[in-house]
């Protein structure tokens, strides 16, 4: 992944790089202040938001920007997580190195999967990645002596310098990685790679006529996405303290995809919204709303599930472009007077096999926003 990205770096225009770094720096300051002012539990969840933001940002590049629908992001989280777990068990090496190895291994697995996967059209890719998310964790059941079985592999939180609380230190590491990933991805997306990603999504034939190597572009997007997922998986199990199969159920992949779409597909800011939704919506907010109904516990638990499902549907019907699209729409409403193009929204992914031309005529694509982290 690194090797593939470097040429893009070299050609980066100075302007977006500086802008993204500036955003990154502001992010660091923002999260530092936020983290120290939160309670232990909220701080822990803030770290989780960072972790899921990484996974969703990667998915957003693959699905939102490049147009390949993946229902299997969870499998790559598992790869990164187990890599870190094995490193913790068998080696005592520096955390940065551990994370880099986790990223490298999941990128490699991503590459292996990408070779067949990127040949597939929308729904076929969805089917294959869905089965991947189901099947991959079973390797750890089959080889439980190596992968730790049900009890899993124990991971220890990294040593914190000085008197910093280890949990808070971990949150900072998670958030820092998230900001780093988002800045890197923003640069990738504003490089020629980003343009190729979008070109392939919008029209593969046109893209290849314009000199884009379609197959390679899709593979690169897939690998970037799985590398992000691997990092997220590794960071996730640092805070759960254990790596086991149950942490990577099929529903994780679905939640990540839902978070990506609800946050705003193809936008990196949307990844943060999506991460917040993934962390808080199913387990916290839905439960709180359900509790307000004072149902008995069995019905109450199901009520939370009902509310979660209903929110997914309602948001999708009311704000098809997700939170980020909705916010941008609001912004446009407030700032401009009815002359600008409509806000973001059209993600031309090819799960549907309908002629693309209609889409082109109906709405302007506004994916330019995806190139920045505004």
């Amino acid at each position: 992944m690194i090797k593939l990205r470097l040429p893009g770096w070299a050609r980066l225009p100075r302007q977006p790089l500086l802008r993204h770094l500036l955003f990154g720096a502001v992010g660091v300051a923002f999260f530092y202040v936020l983290s120290i002012s939160l309670s232990d539990f909220n701080d822990f969840q803030l770290g989780e938001v960072g972790v899921y933001a990484i996974a969703i940002a990667g998915l957003s590049v693959l699905t939102g920007v490049n147009g390949q629908i993946s229902l299997g992001q969870g499998a790559f989280l598992a790869v990164g997580a187990y890599t870190l777990g094995e490193l913790e068990v068998h080696q005592s090496i520096n955390l940065v190195l551990q994370l880099l190895i986790a990223v490298a291994v999941s990128a490699l697995v991503g590459l292996i999967i990408a070779v067949p996967a990127t040949r597939l059209r929308g729904p076929y890719l969805a089917g294959m990645t869905l089965l991947l998310a189901l099947a991959l964790p079973f390797l750890s059941d089959k080889y439980s002596s190596f992968f730790g079985g049900d009890q899993g592999l124990i991971t220890l939180p990294p040593n914190a310098p000085g008197s910093i609380d280890p949990q808070r230190w971990l949150t900072w590491i998670q958030l820092f990685c998230a900001l780093l990933v988002v800045v890197l991805l923003a640069n990738v997306l504003s490089s020629r790679f980003g343009r190729s990603f979008r070109a392939v999504r919008d029209n593969e034939v046109a893209a290849s006529l314009a000199g884009v190597h379609v197959a390679r572009t899709k593979v690169i997007a897939f690998v970037i996405s799985s590398a992000c997922a691997g990092l997220a998986g590794a960071l996730l199990v640092l805070s759960t303290g254990v790596v086991n199969t149950g942490e990577f159920p099929l529903s994780l992949s679905i939640y990540l995809l839902a978070g990506m779409v609800l946050g705003g597909a193809g936008t990196l800011t949307g990844a943060w919204w999506g991460a917040i939704l993934v962390v808080y919506l199913p387990n916290q907010w839905s439960q709180s709303i359900a509790n307000a109904f004072h149902a008995n516990h069995l019905v109450g638990a199901n009520l939370a599930v009902i509310i979660f499902g209903a929110v997914l549907i309602v948001v999708m019907l009311a704000a098809p472009a997700g939170v980020q699209g909705g916010l941008r729409w609001l912004g446009h409403r407030l700032v401009t007077v009815s002359t600008g193009p409509k806000p973001a929204g059209n993600i031309s992914v090819t799960l549907q096999d309908q002629p693309v031309s209609k889409q082109d005529r109906d709405g302007p694509e506004s994916d330019r926003a995806a190139t920045s982290i505004d």
């Binding site: 309670s39 232990d40 539990f41 822990f44 969840q45 989780e48 189901l134 964790p137 079973f138 059941d141 089959k142 439980s144 079985g149 049900d150 009890q151 899993g152 124990i154 996730l236 805070s239 759960t240 303290g241 254990v242 086991n244 199969t245 149950g246 942490e247 159920p249 529903s251 994780l252 387990n283 439960q287 008995n296 516990h297 069995l298 638990a301 199901n302 939370a304 599930v305």
Partner: protein
């Protein structure tokens, strides 16, 4: 998703001296409402104790297991209605984790850091609880009576963790000994769940049954359990297994028995207690006998497939009305968990929850009025062996042993025994074949337990 939930009625006499003494403390505590002068303990006030748990209330693991925590809460409601323990009422905050360890991590942190629970009591599952073991111990929060038979709950690194039900290896050893003694020379086959639970049961079986006798070892994965286990049962049949041990969860028991019946395969089934509760498994078999035009009310007839199966039990049988614990269980559920009672009645899962609830109240009693987390853990190590619970064998807690029951009886599901009647139907009861036995999950021998089972304290049986 792999707890054991069973019993067997057996001589109800003595141990009552200790029983009444200790349980008298409940009564003593009932009216007691003074505030202890000690330093405040998280989750404990002068008149309340907040404890929590993470259990599957939704999702694929919820069926059956979602009854346990509400049943446990019925015990606490009874205690609260009678003044609490040392004047403290128990607030039980159990939340859904959907059997997903990531949810467990988050929800457990929420319980500990935000809801300020005193202890995590009766949380369910091996992978789920393994993922919070390190955290809870680091925070010095007792992780009590984990609903799983994993050997991992006794670990010197994690002194705040305590199991409750017999380790799966103990189940396996006791069933294995019985098979070795009573089915000598017969061909034995296994069908086990491909995880800690199944592997541990098999480990125990293998300690007793000569390997030459075992002709086939089949496995399945619970996460992909969607249809009949035809393949595995055919393989066991082809290998000529005359005795088939099932280390299966209830759903898998049904999905093994159905294809066996389909292909006319009738070995002697030996089913680990986890997957043998007739009211839990019975309804799943109803599809076999009720055909077009039939209705679900025929459920009971189908349980025939379970008839004659041998299993193990460490709690009294639900059908044994003469057992005073069973009578108490029924009254408690009826009064303090009416929605559970009307839907499920007293089945293996609710009985399990109640027994676990009694155990925790005992532990609170033993910890005394100056309640601290360390004090509670010490009290279990110190007097755990003497707790009065419905178990057929006593709890075996010491400072080094964090397993609860280390033994059970071998019983047979029999159509001639008093049926178990629940709101979902009438199911065959059981008769005791042998036992109870005790053994450790390690190499130690299986020994017959010669002590007596304990009686419920008078307060409980009279006021419930």
């Amino acid at each position: 998703m792999r707890l054991t939930s069973r019993r067997r009625a057996f001589g109800w006499a003595g141990r009552s001296a200790i029983a009444t003494t200790i349980l008298a403390m409940v009564a003593a505590g009932l009216g007691w409402s003074g505030s202890a002068g000690a330093a405040p303990t998280t989750g404990v006030t002068s008149n309340s104790i907040t404890i929590g748990a993470t259990v599957p209330l939704t999702g694929a693991a919820a069926p059956g297991y979602d009854e346990i925590a509400p049943a446990m809460n019925a015990v606490f409601q009874w205690v609260n209605a009678h003044g609490g323990v040392y004047g403290r009422k128990i607030h039980y905050d159990y939340v859904d984790d959907g059997y997903n360890p990531s949810n467990t991590t988050t929800q457990t942190r929420k319980l500990v850091l935000q809801n300020q629970i005193f202890a995590d009591v009766g949380s369910l599952g091996t992978p789920t609880q393994a993922s919070v073991q390190a955290f809870l111990n680091a925070e010095k929060v007792p992780q009590l009576f984990v609903e799983s038979g994993c050997n991992c709950w006794t670990n010197p690194k994690y002194p705040y963790t305590t199991g409750w039900q017999p380790p799966y290896t103990v189940d396996g050893k006791i069933l294995g000994l019985y098979i070795k003694q009573h089915f000598a020379g017969k061909k034995v086959g296994y069908l086990s769940q491909d995880d800690e639970f199944g592997q541990d049961v098999v480990k125990g079986l293998d300690m007793e049954i000569p390997s030459s006798q075992v002709v086939s070892r089949q496995t399945y994965d619970v996460a992909t359990l969607s249809g009949p286990l035809t393949t595995q049962m055919s393989a066991l049949q082809a290998a000529g297994a005359q005795v088939v041990v099932l280390a299966t969860v209830p759903a898998a028991t049904a999905l093994a028995l159905l294809p066996a019946a389909e292909i006319g395969y009738k070995p002697q089934f030996v089913i680990d207690a986890v997957g043998a509760d007739p009211p839990t498994v019975g309804p799943l078999l109803s599809s076999f006998t009720s055909q077009g035009g039939g209705s679900s009310s025929q459920a009971s007839a189908a349980v025939g497939l379970l008839d004659g199966a041998i299993t193990n039990a460490y709690l009294p049988a639900e059908n044994d009305s003469s057992n005073p614990w069973i009578a108490v269980d029924r009254k408690l559920l009826q009064k303090y968990a009416p929605d559970i009672w009307s839907k499920y009645g007293l089945d293996g899962n609710t009985e399990y929850g109640l027994a676990l609830g009694y155990t925790f109240v005992q532990a609170l009693q033993a910890a005394g009025k100056n309640l601290t987390r360390q004090g509670l853990v010490n009290a279990i190590a110190r007097s755990g062996k003497k707790f009065v619970t419905p178990g057929l064998v006593p709890l075996s807690y010491t400072s080094n042993v964090h397993f609860g029951y280390e033994g059970d009886s071998v019983v047979q599901i029999s159509p001639s025994a008093t049926p178990i009647v629940t709101p979902t139907g009438s199911f065959p009861g059981e008769t005791t074949l042998a036992g109870p036995f005790v053994t450790s999950p390690g190499k130690g021998p299986v020994k017959k337990y010669t002590g007596k089972a304990s009686l419920p304290p008078r307060e409980l049986s009279s006021t419930a």
